[in-house]
C-alpha cells in the first residue's frame, strides 16, 4: 500500500517534471484543448442565459378562460377567487361588451355587429400562470376548465412550445458538440502523449534495463495526460471568462435598452468542477489509448 502510494507520487512528480520541461508544447496543447472545450461550454452558457432571458420576457404565454353565459354570480365569484391563488401570476377580467367593442374596432366588423341582436361573446378572463413551462400551462388550463361556470379554457401555448423546442434543440446540440469535442480532446491528448513517449525513448529503455515494470513506465504518461486535460479545462474556463468579460458591457447595454436588469450569469462552481473533471478524464483516456502502442513502438524500434 505504502509502496503503491510511493509509485503514484513518483509518477505524479515525473509527470509534473515533464510538463515543466516542455512548457511551450504543454501550453499549446492546453490551449488547443481549451479552445475545443470552450465551444460547447460557450453554447451551454449561452443557452442558460437565453433560458433566463426567456423567463423574464414580457410576452408570456396566456390562458384564455371563457365563462358560461349562464354562469351564476356565485360561480363567477368562485372563479375570481381561484384566480387569486399563487400559481397564477396575473389575471384580468374582459367583460363581453368590451370584448365585442374591441373586436369590432380591430376587425372593422361594424356592419355585422349592427346586425346582431345580442352580444354572442362570453365574458372572459385572461390568465398568466406563475410558471411558463408547457406542463404547468397545461395543468393550470385543465384545472380552470373544471371549475363550475367555466365554458372552456384556451391555451395559447404555441409561443411557449416554440421556445421550449428551440431550447431543447440547443441543449441537444450542446451534448452533441460536447461529445465531438471530447473526442477531439482525447485525440489531442493521445497525440501529445505519443510525442512525449517518443521523446523519452532513452529513459524508457534504460528504465526497462534496470527493472521497471510496464506499469511503472506507463504511469507517469497517464498522469501527464490527466494533467494536460486539467490544464485544457482551465484554459477553456479562461477562454470563457475572457469572452464573458468582453460581452458583459454590450449585453447589459442591450438589456438596458429593453428596460431589463438582465446580467450575464457565470458558470456555477459545480459546472466548473464538472468541466475540469471531464477534461481530466478525457486527457487520461487519450494517454491510456496511445501509451501502450507508443511504448511498443519505442521498444521494437530499439
Amino acid at each position: 500500500m505504502i509502496s503503491w502510494l510511493r509509485h503514484q507520487k513518483y509518477a505524479l512528480t515525473a509527470a509534473l517534471y515533464r510538463l515543466r520541461m516542455q512548457p511551450v508544447s504543454s501550453l499549446l496543447t492546453a490551449l488547443a484543448m481549451g479552445v475545443a472545450i470552450s465551444l460547447p461550454g460557450g453554447l451551454y452558457l449561452s443557452l442558460a442565459n437565453l433560458g433566463q432571458v426567456a423567463g423574464k420576457l414580457p410576452a408570456q404565454p396566456e390562458i384564455s378562460l371563457f365563462l358560461d353565459t349562464l354562469a351564476s354570480d356565485t360561480h363567477r365569484q368562485a372563479v375570481a377567487t381561484r384566480l387569486k391563488q399563487p400559481d397564477i401570476a396575473e389575471a384580468y377580467f374582459v367583460p363581453k361588451d368590451q370584448a365585442l367593442a374591441a373586436l369590432i374596432s380591430s376587425q372593422g366588423l361594424t356592419d355585422i355587429a349592427a346586425g346582431l341582436t345580442q352580444n354572442p361573446l362570453p365574458d372572459a378572463w385572461v390568465v398568466r400562470p406563475q410558471l411558463s413551462s408547457r406542463e404547468e400551462l397545461a395543468r393550470v388550463a385543465h384545472d380552470l376548465a373544471k371549475l363550475p361556470g367555466v365554458a372552456e379554457t384556451h391555451l395559447d401555448s404555441l409561443w411557449a412550445e416554440r421556445l421550449q423546442a428551440g431550447l431543447s434543440i440547443g441543449r441537444a446540440s450542446v451534448w452533441l458538440l460536447a461529445g465531438l469535442f471530447a473526442i477531439a480532446l482525447i485525440a489531442i491528448s493521445g497525440n501529445a502523449i505519443r510525442a512525449q513517449v517518443l521523446a523519452r525513448r532513452d529513459e524508457i529503455l534504460v528504465s526497462r534495463l534496470i527493472g521497471a515494470t510496464d506499469r511503472h513506465i506507463r504511469r507517469p504518461f497517464l498522469y501527464l495526460g490527466a494533467l494536460q486535460g486539467l490544464l485544457g479545462g482551465l484554459a477553456a474556463i479562461g477562454v470563457l471568462a475572457i469572452a464573458g468579460t468582453i460581452l458583459r458591457q454590450p449585453v447589459s447595454h442591450l438589456a438596458d435598452l429593453y428596460g431589463s436588469s438582465f446580467q450575464l450569469i457565470p458558470p456555477s462552481p459545480l459546472e466548473i468542477a464538472t468541466v475540469l473533471v471531464l477534461t481530466t478524464i478525457s486527457g487520461w483516456f487519450g494517454a491510456w489509448l496511445t501509451v501502450t502502442r507508443a511504448l511498443h513502438q519505442v521498444e521494437t524500434a530499439h
Partner: protein, 220 residues
C-alpha cells in the same frame, strides 16, 4: 546461481555470438570474462539479465529459466542484478544524483532513504562533488563510475559488469576493482567482462575465456 547449458545465441543476420556454452557460476563467486573484441562477452552477460534470449539451450539464474521468463517477470529478475553497461546508458536529462536513485525509484523505495543510499555510493565512486552535475559534463571515466554507482545502489546479489574499467586510468581502475572485491567479500556474485589483466591477477578468482563464442575456461 547461474547455469548455462548448451547455450547458443545467433543474432538476426545469422552471426553466432555464443556457441554451445556450458558452465555454471556459484553464489558468491567472482568470475572474469575475457576474450577478444567480438568474442561474445557482452552477449553472455545480456543472456543472464534476459536482455537477449538464447537461440537454443537453457540459461538459468537462481533456478529460473531466464530464457523462458514471461515478459512481466523480467523486471523483478533485473532488480536483483546490478548492471554496468559497456556504453554506460546514462540519462542526460537529469543530474548525477537522479541517475543513481533511478533503480530505487523504480523499485518503489522511500525517497529520503533512496537519496541517502545514493549519496553513499556516489561518495564511494568518488563523485560526491559532482552530485548535481549533468552526466554529459563528466569525463568518460567519471561516466563509467556513475554507471557503476547506479548498478551498486540497490545492493544487488549479482553484479554484471561489462568492461567496468575500460575508460579508467590505472589508479581509478584499481579503486573500482577493490570496490568489487569488497562486494565479493560480503557475498555478492560478480561477473566482470574485462581486458584488464592486472585486475585479474590482483583479485584472483576464476576466468572464463571466450574465443569466437566458445568457452575455454582458464584459472589463474
Amino acid at each position: 546461481m547461474i547455469q548455462f547449458s548448451e547455450v547458443t545465441k545467433r543474432y538476426p543476420g545469422g552471426h553466432e555470438a555464443l556457441s554451445s556454452a556450458t558452465f555454471s557460476i556459484e553464489q558468491g563467486e567472482l568470475v572474469f570474462l575475457t576474450g577478444h573484441s567480438g568474442a561474445g562477452k557482452s552477449t553472455l552477460l545480456k543472456l543472464i539479465a534476459a536482455i537477449e534470449r538464447p537461440t537454443s539451450g537453457v540459461v538459468s539464474v537462481n533456478g529460473q529459466n531466464v530464457g523462458r521468463l514471461p515478459q512481466r517477470a523480467i523486471p523483478y529478475l533485473r532488480r536483483n542484478i546490478g548492471l554496468v553497461f559497456q556504453d554506460h546508458k546514462l540519462l542526460f536529462d537529469r543530474n548525477v544524483m537522479e541517475n543513481v536513485v533511478l533503480p530505487l525509484d523504480i523499485a518503489g523505495f522511500d525517497r529520503r532513504e533512496s537519496l541517502k543510499r545514493a549519496r553513499a555510493v556516489i561518495d564511494k565512486v568518488g563523485l560526491l562533488n559532482r552530485e548535481k552535475a549533468n552526466p554529459i559534463s563528466l569525463s568518460g571515466g567519471e561516466q563509467q563510475r556513475l554507471c557503476i554507482a547506479r548498478a551498486l545502489v540497490s545492493r544487488p546479489a549479482l553484479l554484471l559488469a561489462d568492461e567496468p574499467t575500460g575508460n579508467l586510468d590505472p589508479g581509478y581502475a584499481a579503486d573500482i576493482m577493490s570496490m568489487f572485491r569488497d562486494f565479493h567479500q560480503v557475498g555478492t556474485t560478480l561477473v566482470i567482462a574485462t581486458h584488464d589483466e592486472r585486475a585479474i591477477t590482483a583479485l584472483g578468482g576464476r576466468t572464463l575465456h571466450l574465443d569466437h563464442g566458445r568457452i575455454a575456461e582458464a584459472t589463474t
